[in-house]
Symmetry: C2
């Protein structure tokens, strides 16, 4: 259903005609995000450049009952930015200025369209670290990271996006601008709207400015790799590392299928005959890094590792981390459809969860490879299949439903860091219960009485 | 207004008659918390022992429109647990079991009535650290810490209570039990109710179980002290420490008035002729601690410290930290009424804020001493006066209103870690704006349609 001309004209008068797209050919690129199998064409794509323009667009949308789906780079993996009910896709990428980086206050203030990597690089140039590092960091935006509470490879030691958001400027669907938090680590004046908006997936308000905490950049870092007979063995080593009082900056694993795909893809010299690879690493002063890597190596050896190697230099460290970072592209080459999930379980349940995933894959005759953030219990089971094989696609949906149920049964969750979006909304009540789903709906109404913001997602 | 007999009987039938108090003499101890000048006698004090009992009490209260004020140890400093509208004070101290401490999962699960120190000690006995350490830790409860998002002396390096809450069991005012989060660091299934409840000051739900993250206990720690001509000089040193890339575990300051009072009280051998004392410290391996303390000492010297000393041993470190911890009791001895506040500003504004506080105190002819968490910009200006001097009490209120306004003007907040409660509700709109106050009210209604939970506080 096309947008009425008077609405399109009103949008053009707010942001300028060149920043409103309504022609079908122009809409197609905004009908999808990075989530396979989800597709919905919006009626208009709007590119505001200021908080005031966002407020005017939202006020108009509330008045006229037009759905609005906010979007950054569209790298999310849960269809959180697919315009399920049509209406406007509101793209925030023109709001792309780094407004401030302060070394003395250890913070950055940015507009939401700045990419994660650009913020990290700008901080790095000042000797500072922006800790969250989602896999899509070169493309993903800070606004999108906040909206999904993005995680990444450093979650165990450094936490996730939530831990770094100090303040937000956000526009309510009714057009009011609120400023939550600010420049302070400590501020308890009012409910914690900063954290409530973080991870709210564009369903409560549109974020137009973000203040994040930075850390002094660590002096150095180091990485090691351990091979195990089985992923279950690797998972037990993970628990042993944590139990030994170590909180590594990196603790990632790849199953045999991932290692094989990565080696085929990138020829990093990985050993492909082992059942699993565990990547471990830390950062800090040279002494601390060397000490912690040696202890982790010891623990892995005691836990039965087939082989443990420490990267001899930065280049080798980078290569090992690349092995983890390229798991998804490497697997994606194996067939035309790749479905990446992120069920998460308590660390001591990792081995059991991996066994269950393998059993589910076997029963449904699917290729599911698993890699992930072992230190966080955050698994990325990844199904590679032929999208034209309707039977396989159907079996994949069934398999993931079983995987989510298994994660919940083991005390885990349906999504560790990707979000709920449209893709996992059907499983939400199984995780948090119907009372809490009803409560989310009421909270949604407190922000968005006309329910125009990202309908069909969280709070629906 | 006494509680109708049928309500008192209904409460007795839920928790047992011996756990309901309705006689005036029994109510008096629950008419106050640690906040001076706030007093309101409840109609009943109820001591439930289980989540189910809490749910029944709340369901009854919602049905009959009885206000309920949840309370832990009553150590809060913003009248958050004073029953402004009468009704029931719901004391959670019978829910006092440590349910689990897991070294392999780095977490603890406790009931809300467990004291902070008991949790910290139990974690310590397993080689683990519960990082939040509010000043009232020996008496305060974990439930109260979560409800107020308590801070403490380690905020700069370790963050506040919010950063450690993984999951909550909470009872809605309508009696439904919700379980938010869980045992995972990464879990984005739904809005972040865990963080929304943290700091909600008992106005949204009653917390009946808490899962918190623990850390491996640091191997050691060390402390140093620097004296400066003025508090402004000390504040500049704080900014210099941070700008040098250091994030110390401790960075606390005392002004000359505090140092004098502490020395008089505890005879720790502090130098009382300097304008200010800066306490700095770090934890970690011996090498890291020694290196960081040396760098901090250097920075303080470069910033013009009169004298810098590193504690030679643990006993001296403890004595220095005691100097900071006993600031409040030491000041309290100077007169019968002590009003402690916690305005917070961005670190680079600390010196200006302290100057403003001193000017405000002088203008109102008040004794206001200031100490606080310099690393967080979190100031505790403390007014000591005679409660029978009505003129002075009135001037103190005016002075604090001016102090809050100055903090907000400098980009800070009216409360860094104590909370809003009844005491700072009049200043909330000045900090967060009327749109956000209205939004808080709507969120409150989403949880508490009958508005029975802690009325007259946040969300009112």
């Amino acid at each position: 259903m096309a947008l009425p001309k008077k609405d399109a004209d009103a949008l053009a008068s707010i942001v300028g005609a060149e920043h409103v797209r309504v022609e079908p050919g122009e809409l197609a690129p905004y009908a999808r995000d990075a989530t396979p199998l989800f597709h919905a064409e919006p009626d208009a794509v709007v590119f505001p450049a200021t908080t005031a323009e966002v407020a005017e667009v939202l006020e108009l949308a509330t008045e006229r009952g037009i759905p609005v789906t906010p979007r950054g780079a569209g790298t999310n993996l849960c269809a959180a930015t697919v315009a399920e009910r049509g209406g406007i896709v509101l793209v925030l990428t023109r709001l792309n200025r780094i407004l401030e980086i302060s070394r003395e206050e250890l913070l950055a203030r940015v507009e939401p369209g700045v990419t994660t990597a650009r913020l990290a690089d700008a901080a790095g140039a000042r000797g500072l670290l922006y800790a969250p590092d989602p896999g899509s960091r070169t493309a993903s935006t800070v606004g999108g990271n906040v909206a999904t509470c993005a995680g990444g490879l450093r979650g165990l030691k450094y936490g996730v996006t939530r831990n770094y958001v100090l303040g937000l400027t956000a526009v309510l669907p009714t057009g009011e601008v609120v400023r939550t938090g600010g420049r302070l680590w400590k501020d308890v004046a009012g409910y914690d709207l900063t954290r409530l908006l973080t991870g709210s997936e564009g369903t409560l308000a549109v974020i137009t400015e973000v203040t994040v905490a930075l850390l002094p950049a660590p002096a150095g870092s180091g990485t090691g790799v351990a091979y195990f007979d089985s992923l279950a063995d690797a998972c037990r080593a993970v628990t042993a590392v944590i139990s030994a009082g170590l909180v590594p900056a990196t603790l990632e694993f790849l199953d045999q299928k991932c290692v094989a795909a990565v080696e085929e893809f990138a020829a990093l010299g990985l050993r492909t005959d082992a059942g699993a690879l565990l990547l471990f690493g830390d950062d800090g002063t040279d002494d601390v890094v060397a000490g912690n890597l040696a202890r982790m190596a010891e623990v892995c050896t005691s836990a039965g590792a087939l082989e443990v190697t420490l990267a001899e230099d930065v280049a080798r460290s980078e290569a090992l981390l690349a092995a983890r970072r390229c798991s998804l592209p490497a697997l994606s080459r194996l067939n035309s459809l790749t479905i990446l999930e992120d069920a998460t379980v308590p660390r001591p349940k990792l081995a059991e969860m991996v066994d269950r995933i393998d059993a589910i894959a076997a029963r449904h005759e699917l290729m599911i490879a698993t890699f992930g953030h072992a230190g966080d219990g955050n698994l990325h089971p990844t199904c590679v299949l032929d999208p034209d094989d309707a039977g396989a696609v159907d079996r994949a949906h069934k398999a993931f439903a079983e995987i989510f149920a298994a994660a919940v049964e083991l005390g885990g969750t349906i999504t560790g860091e990707h979000g709920v979006g449209a893709a996992k909304l059907p499983y939400l009540a199984d995780r948090i219960g119907p009372e809490q789903v009803a409560l989310l709906r009421r909270i949604k109404s407190a922000f968005d009485p006309a329910r125009i913001l990202n309908p069909g997602k969280l709070g629906s």
